[in-house]
Amino acid sequence: MLAFILRRLLQAVIVMLTVAFIAFMLFQYVGDPVTSLLGQDATQEQRDKLRQDLGLDEAFPVQFARFVGNAVQGEFGLSLRQGRKVSSLIAERFPATLELALAAAVIALAAGVPLGVYAALRRGRFGSQLVMTLSLLGVSLPTFLIGILLILIFAVTLKWLPSFGRGDTVALGAWTTGLLTFDGWKHLVLPAITLSVFQLALILRLVRAEMLEVLRTDYVKFARARGLQDSAVYFGHALKNTLVPVITITGLQLGSLIAFAIITETVFQWPGMGFLFIQAVQFADIPVMAAYLCLIALIFVVVNLVVDLLYFAVDPRLRLESPAGGH
């Protein structure tokens, strides 16, 4: 167990160092920081002076070590486009993205699990086929098209819901939340549904497949033979055993929810990190891109690590295998 955790931690550190190295290379070789700070017509002395002040004349490993040191403290310098500190830019935008991603995850789980169970229990009936066809559509439709369709239906035609921005927000210290105002909730509906569609379809198909698998096993047959009611068999025995992979996938998808929020945020002009990142890509704003890259990598690595550990704790079979066999 301890060896397993240590191995996973070591892997996580290696991944983070790799990502940090890529971010560092971006700073080093893409665009000249001296030119971007001083402008084209600075004299050679000014350039050398700044080069020294920034530590750009030092050895490569020293510079990389300093970069990692700063990154650990959340320090990525100034945004080239907005001239503000990248760390404060991201801190401002982070709550919007997190609220959006969590709302989408809740929708995906709350609708995906029951629909998946329904599709498995009523296999071959019309309702279940309808659900499966819709889920196929949900997997193949690109996120931005879903957003556009929802805007066309609910914002333009029916005029029920707003289609851009976060609405009224309340500041709780450094954290701004849209969850405490009615207006904020109204603005959250369409983006959250858009972001959740793909995950919902994924969870639905996964739960259905797992349920069908579990319903064939001996212990379910035996539970039926004991005369338990259908609902007790389905929900007490079968569903419980399908939830382990569902939890894993949902956990792993939380990272990609935050990444896919880039598209949703652009469609709905949601003032989150993804929107910030897209603007950074458009204007080649390297510090913002590098900081976003490191942050996303950190989220992915932490989520992966937590899911692995949870899996290990939940599934006793894994504990019997040698650590080398575990994944």
């Binding site: 991944v15 790799t18 971006l26 893409v30 665009g31 193949s140 439709l141 690109p142 996120t143 931005f144 098209l145 556009i148 369709l149 805007i151 066309l152 333009v156 990272g255 990609s256 990444a259 896919f260 880039i262 598209i263 652009t266 469609v267 990142f277 897209i278 950074a280 890509v281 458009q282 080649a284 390297i286 891109m289 890259l293 996303i296 990598a297 992915f300 690595v301 992966n304």
Partner: protein
Amino acid sequence: MTAPAAPAAPGALARFLDGDVWHSFRNSPMAIVAAVIALLCVFCSVFAPWVSPHNPFDLATLNLSDARLPPAWMDEGNRRYLLGTDDQGRDILSALFYGARISLLVGLASVILSMIVGVGLGLLSGFAGGKIDAFIMRVCDVMLSFPSILIALLIDGVGRAMFPNAHDTLAFGVLIIAISLGGWVQYARTVRGSTLVERHKEYVQAARVIGVSPYRIMVRHVLPNVMGPVLVLATIQVAAAILTEATLSFLGVGVPPTSPSLGTLIRVGNDFLFSGEWWITIFPGFMLVLIALSVNLLGDWLRDALNPRLR
């Protein structure tokens, strides 16, 4: 391309028509419908200059008084423009064909590129083993833990930063590389898996015994035997690449605006959604979904048809 050349014997076509794949194709209505739709889309985009009723890039024929016309079947519609016009009076149907052309071009090019890289690295990984194998597979693990759209966005952003005043051709190159760098991992893992199985088979050992060079064994003997799953993957990846390209173009970081793809058309049309001109964005979106769905269905069918366990 790395695909082995099909034997040019006169019986090749006859053998194909007699074979399992064709048989399974004729018995799958879904596959036939998907193939017809996909072929139609490919035909319209390849021959866009000849099939389109108008040339959307010929400024001389554009007439601003024709701008924002709804589709022909609506009240203010004009029979000359079947699917209506956009804000500059361009025919939507023609813009669709030209846009699909660019989408397909970028999609196919990036799939071919990622296939070459992925198959090459996968073969090397499975055949060489040891440290090379371990290194390539770790890189795959890291790549797989990030969504491919994120990787594509990042490469695209770096490309923009390195060549700020890039020429259009270069922009296309950066875009294709950006999309394929997210896709090669799948090929590498698939090919590595099959290579590990193949390399222990007798024909490989026989070739080794008679002194064939490892490079020649890899390319001439192992490669043709691992291409089946690769073709299935490539089909599905074409759809994925087209969607990725559309997403990037929609986000404004894809193809240059002078040559609009389907994603660009959707992005432009999005601005007119609120003034009621839904056709400017919905038709390109519909075309995109049609292409992606039909290619995906074909890929699903091909996977089942080539899987001997399902026969």
